[in-house]
């Protein structure tokens, strides 16, 4: 199949979209997507389907340009009517045309959805901030819906003055706001062995970035007073799994935050409402959500989540524990399998870079599989332990290309290839795959997840 039949189909589709708006018929786009897949079959999902995504999610704009009755010279229907009033949607929602921009899961990856993960739709996001409704989810016992009036934070163990704090108490402490990413160390974990998932969302969407507001953990630890023997903190959630991890005291006193707000509003239940820990630059699992307890001690706890899980199995049978740091990583978010290119011409390659080791210093982009590289432009703000945007103009000649990005962080660390990582760690370590992503662009503009030898 080529793209032609689809373009023809679009003509039929448009009036339905419009009826959807008029009738405030929300599931219109979902219905459309369903119809198209029935018509085009599974291969379309992987190949041409990507092109389809482009037209739907890039939106309205390209779709309308072909619609005679709504585009120039016609006056569009929405220009000829009275719109909805204020508080029609007292809590705002995205445009109906964006209904496909959602967190998604890989159902075959986990036994159920309660101990599972969903991925942010990076292919449809712009900028460094993840909207709260699209922040990736990771649960170990489902999402608890916690009553903030009943929620408590207990700090005890090797402290001078154990404390029990209500949410009101916590909000009285001096507050700070910081922008930081949170990435699950299993992001890209399915690609250790081979290229498996043909998608930016599923290969890289276990990362999101937000502005967090709360109190510095160091403030709370000063308030309780640490005993001399205290060297570690055990942090624990109020979820059904009472998820817990150990953190060395130096990190707690350095930059950890106990937060109650995310991008200006209260934390979402999915991200730990009403209170979570944010451990900047470290694997997301330690940023305990629904935080209920901090216990100080002289040794680590070796909990299940830091022994059986979140340890890295090496080819010689040994395992690395306490590998908290998120090493520098980058990925091209356009083009990508979900957002292919549509014919030769000038494009802006766009992407995201990040490092747990401070700031991104430089990002290079290759369009020939790593033979030659050009330095991309970094976009402000470039913040420590936050997503950083990069772009590079690219004139595509219509020939097959292999797109890659490579980040260098402020420590001088250079993002490795998957081959370099495998040489050190084999293929069974599950976590911390921060390798360079290669996108194969075919002559028809479609994009695929590939790995190079």
């Amino acid at each position: 199949m080529n793209k032609r039949p689809q373009a023809a189909k679009r003509g039929n589709v448009r009036p339905i979209l419009w009826r959807g708006i008029r009738g405030r018929n929300l599931p219109v786009i979902s219905k459309l997507a369903g119809q198209r897949n029935v018509a085009l079959g599974r291969r379309t999902v992987l190949g041409l389907g990507a092109a389809l995504t482009g037209s739907l999610a890039l939106g309205a704009e390209s779709a309308h340009s072909e619609t005679s009755e709504m585009s120039p010279p016609a006056d569009a229907p929405w220009s000829q009517s009275l719109g909805a009033g204020v508080v029609d949607r007292p809590y705002g929602t995205p445009a109906e045309f964006e209904a496909g921009v959602i967190r998604r899961n890989v159902p075959w990856l986990t036994a159920g959805t309660e101990s599972s993960i969903s991925f942010s739709p990076l292919q449809s996001l712009n900028g460094i901030i993840t909207p709260n409704g699209l922040f990736f989810e990771r649960y170990h016992a489902g999402r608890p819906d916690v009553d903030p009036a009943q929620h408590r934070l207990m700090i005890h163990g090797m402290v001078e003055r154990p404390l029990l704090l209500t949410m009101q108490d916590i909000m009285r402490f001096p507050s700070v706001s910081r922008i930081h990413f949170i990435e699950c160390p299993a992001n890209g974990g399915m690609e250790w062995r081979s290229a498996q998932l043909n998608s930016l969302q599923f290969n890289h969407g276990m990362i999101s970035c937000a502005e967090w507001t709360g109190v510095k953990l160091s403030t709370l630890l000063e308030e309780v007073g640490l005993k001399k023997e205290a060297k570690w903190a055990m942090v624990e959630g109020a979820d059904g799994a009472h998820m817990n991890r150990s953190l060395p005291l130096e990190k707690c006193l350095d930059d950890c935050l106990i937060v109650y707000a995310q991008n200006g509003e209260a934390l979402r239940p999915e991200q730990g409402y009403p209170l979570r820990l944010v451990v900047p630059g470290w694997e997301g699992n330690v940023s305990i959500k629904w935080l209920r307890r901090i216990k100080l001690g002289d040794k680590p706890w070796y909990s299940r989540e830091e022994t059986s899980k979140y340890t890295d199995l090496m080819p010689d049978g040994t395992s690395r524990g306490f590998t908290w740091l998120i090493d520098a990583k980058s990925v091209i978010t356009f083009p990508c399998p979900e957002k292919p290119v549509s014919g030769p011409g000038l494009y802006e390659i766009r992407g995201l870079a990040w490092t747990g080791n401070g700031k991104v210093k430089r990002v290079d982009v290759s369009v020939d599989g790593g033979v030659n590289w050009q330095t991309a432009q970094l976009h402000e703000p470039v913040l420590s332990k936050a997503l950083t945007r990069f772009t590079l103009p690219w004139r595509w000649d219509g020939k097959p290309a292999l797109l890659e990005s490579r980040v260098i962080d402020e420590t001088g660390y250079v993002q490795p290839t998957i081959a370099q990582l495998r040489q050190q760690r084999g293929t069974n370590s599950v976590y911390h795959n921060n390798s360079i992503q290669t996108w194969q662009v075919k002559a028809d503009g479609s994009v695929f997840d590939v790995q190079l030898g």
Partner: protein, 224 residues
């Protein structure tokens, strides 16, 4: 003589000095918010058990045979009667000697470094649909049963706060608790970095049927 304005200014300055001084000190209790938890409040939440030495293990005990019946009632539906795992739920036993294999099987027996961690995890998170409903004796019994399934303890083993920390798990010595990264030393070469002829696609996700849809409603696809 002070007038009122000067008076207020002076007191303001003194107050400011005091605030600055005390903020810098940050003595425990400086803010004074919150309450001191009672012993009962702490005891209710203080559930953690430390993996390497078992500190925090509660009173109580449980045998392998008790564990077998609790397991059948509470765990087997997901983990299988003998810990073999149903569907994609975790396998709890077996896999010994597979960690260097192409497809390793990490289980409690083949992978976990500390026995008390097993008590801690069952107690804090299991059974998944009804966590925190088992007695300490039941949790001890389950711990004993799962260790026995892995041939780590004999059939007559009784798990308690004394016996669990003494168990040395088979994979205990394989863990390194310091991070050796960075373990790659890539160089930021800019041009003619590799032979263009050597650039070969060795793997592609195209057409392998593993990727859910990223348009329309959520895809509930199962692997082919």
């Amino acid at each position: 003589m002070f007038n009122w304005a000067e008076h207020r200014l002076l007191w303001g300055a003194i107050a400011l000095l005091m605030t600055t001084a005390s903020a810098a000190a940050a003595e425990p209790g400086h803010f004074g918010y919150g309450t001191t938890p009672t012993a009962a409040q702490i005891a209710g939440w203080d559930i953690d058990v430390r993996g390497d030495d078992g500190v925090g293990l509660p009173a109580g005990k449980g045998s392998v045979s008790q564990g077998e019946s609790v397991f059948a009632d509470q765990c087997a539906a997901c983990h299988g009667t003998f810990g073999e795992g149903e569907g994609r739920f975790p396998k709890l036993a077996g896999g010994n000697g597979t960690l260097k294999d192409d497809r390793p099987e990490p289980t409690v027996g083949s992978y976990w470094p500390f026995a008390p961690t097993l008590f801690d995890y069952i107690n804090r998170a299991m059974p998944m649909p009804t966590p925190h409903t088992l007695s300490s004796d039941d949790v001890y019994a389950l711990t004993a049963y799962i260790l026995n399934l892995n041939n780590i303890v004999p059939n007559d083993f009784v798990a308690d706060r004394e016996s669990l920390p003494k168990i040395k798990m088979p994979n205990h010595d394989s863990f390194v608790w310091t991070d050796p990264r960075p373990d790659t030393a890539a160089k930021p070469c800019m041009s003619a970095c590799i032979d263009p002829g050597a650039v070969k696609i060795t793997a592609t996700a195209e057409g392998n049927g593993l990727t859910p849809k990223t348009t329309g409603p959520l895809d509930n696809m199962q692997p082919k």
